[in-house]
């Protein structure tokens, strides 16, 4: 019964979660540019980076899309069509329709951690999660992606052959039965399709 295709899912997607590390900004650019201005799902992003307290990443991403982009605040309601970036030096978690932050220890040397975001999203939204793993030089995201799969959600991975750094996507492909392995433009179209999917 742990079918891994979208067909086994009962609800339509409710949230997109994206994790990336080394080379992530260039990859995010292509994906965000391809999302239409009426995109109906909330998008939560964790990008590994150094400590910055002036939301540089959110501002840079805002330049690329008409969807509103901002750093997630603690207990902020998750609104469809908004793009949220995990603030640096905090873990970003999803909790019943709201974001939650934590300053617990780093996971795999990262805070924010992709595993933490993905696992909490899977726990809160079960099969209604679309998780995306992009380029990166770490194994962060593999455990989280496996959790998303175990709850019946969808996992899409950037084709390691096209990634600036293949370690992270390759690790996820090894760890769990991913739904799609695609180049960036393929991921963008996949997310568009997921966004307008209807419930079975």
């Amino acid at each position: 019964m742990r079918g891994s295709t979208e067909r086994s899912r009962s609800g339509k997607p409710a949230i997109v979660v994206i994790g990336c590390s080394l080379g992530g900004y260039n990859a995010l650019r292509i994906i965000l540019k391809a999302l239409p201005r009426d995109y109906p799902l909330p998008v939560a992003i964790v990008q590994h980076r150094g400590v910055d307290t002036v939301d540089l990443l959110a501002r840079a991403l805002q330049e690329l899309t008409q969807l509103p982009v901002r750093e997630a605040e603690d207990k902020e309601p998750i609104i469809p069509g908004c793009v949220y970036v995990g603030p640096s030096d905090y873990h970003l978690l999803v909790d019943a329709g709201r974001f939650a932050l934590s300053t617990d220890a780093k996971v795999l040397a990262a805070r924010p951690s992709i595993d933490v975001l993905f696992e909490s999203a899977a726990d809160a939204y079960l099969e209604r999660v679309v998780a995306v793993i992009l380029t990166g030089a770490s194994r962060d995201g593999s455990i989280g992606a496996a959790r998303v799969k175990s709850k019946g959600g969808v996992v899409v991975v950037q084709d390691p052959a096209t990634a600036e750094c293949a370690v992270m996507p390759a690790s996820v492909v090894q760890t769990c039965a991913v739904d799609r392995v695609l180049p960036l433009d393929g991921i963008a179209s996949f997310l568009r399709v997921q966004g307008y999917a209807r419930a079975d």
Binding site: P87, H91, A100, L101
Partner: protein, 281 residues
């Protein structure tokens, strides 16, 4: 007779968490029932893994029958990790916008509510020192966990992070060298005793204990992120009633008063970006 299972597997986990927290509260009086679920769930599973049990019910059995296990659980529940001069811009704003108000008082009472391992307490002590206010200040640093508090009291940091701390200190407007304030020894650094003399470390639980003084300045940074909205509102009541009029409340960089407490309208913003507020009514 076959037993009908009424709920799905994920609901079983939620039920186990509720039962565990109920047991912990009834036996030990520690109340985590209004903690935010997502981070709570992570900490509980970390604890289960450390204890070598496969389920939360297994963890519950151990915690209820083994006091040492409960003590380890409490440490797991207070493992937030901070740094010396975390968010340097915040301390720069404290120097610029809060310290001038503090000069007006003959005596400055500061409360670090949920001080964890104390890095931010020593940071503020240094600011008060450099601004010439230390001698007439009393800093109360409280945490619910005794083990964590003992670490804070020692004032020891590992030297791995000293370069980062030194950079933070400079970016926060530090007037000397951070190394003036500690003694390095092997792989660790110990804050100077003179910095500790006006700091009082004490156990205090924001969830179950009440107000114990009136303060000019309260730091409660990245503590309420672990609470759900109900508990946040309650703790805001406690902080509000612990502040003198014109006292200052400092929250974490990603926390807000907006919508978190009806006392919102009783504060004015001293620095919106750094989440520093002043009680005006």
């Amino acid at each position: 007779m076959p037993v009908a299972v009424q709920t799905q597997l994920s609901d079983v986990e939620t039920m186990e968490i509720e039962l565990l927290l109920d047991g912990v509260y009834r036996l030990y009086g520690c109340d985590f029932r209004n903690y935010a679920l997502a981070s709570l769930r992570r900490r509980i599973w970390n604890s289960a893994r450390t204890e070598g049990v496969a389920t939360i019910s297994g963890l519950q059995e151990k915690i209820l029958h083994d006091r040492a296990c409960m003590e380890r659980f409490l440490v797991q529940m207070s493992v937030s990790v901070t740094s010396v001069f975390r968010d340097p811009e915040f301390y720069a704003a404290i120097r610029e916008k809060v310290i001038p108000h503090m000069r007006a008082h003959p005596f400055v009472r500061v409360w670090h509510a949920g001080c964890a391992t104390g890095e931010e307490v020593y940071s503020m002590a240094i600011v008060l020192w450099e601004e010439g206010l230390y001698d007439r200040s009393r800093i109360y640093a409280t945490d619910m966990n005794e083990v964590v508090l003992a670490k804070a009291r020692e004032g020891i940091v590992t030297s791995d992070n000293l370069a980062e701390y030194e950079a933070n200190y400079k970016a926060a407007g530090g007037k000397a060298q951070l190394s003036d304030y500690y003694t390095a020894k092997y792989d660790r650094a110990i804050f100077r005793g003179s910095l500790k003399k006006n700091i009082v470390f004490a156990e205090h639980n924001l969830v179950t204990d009440s107000s114990f003084n009136e303060f000019n300045l309260i730091f409660c940074r990245n503590v309420m992120i672990y609470f759900n909205s109900t508990l946040q509102a309650r703790v805001h009541d406690l902080l509000y009633s612990s502040l003198r009029r014109l006292g200052v409340l400092a929250l974490g960089r990603k926390e807000t008063l907006r919508g978190a407490t009806p006392h919102e309208r009783n504060y004015e913003e001293l620095d919106e970006r750094e989440r520093i507020y002043r009680k005006v009514a």
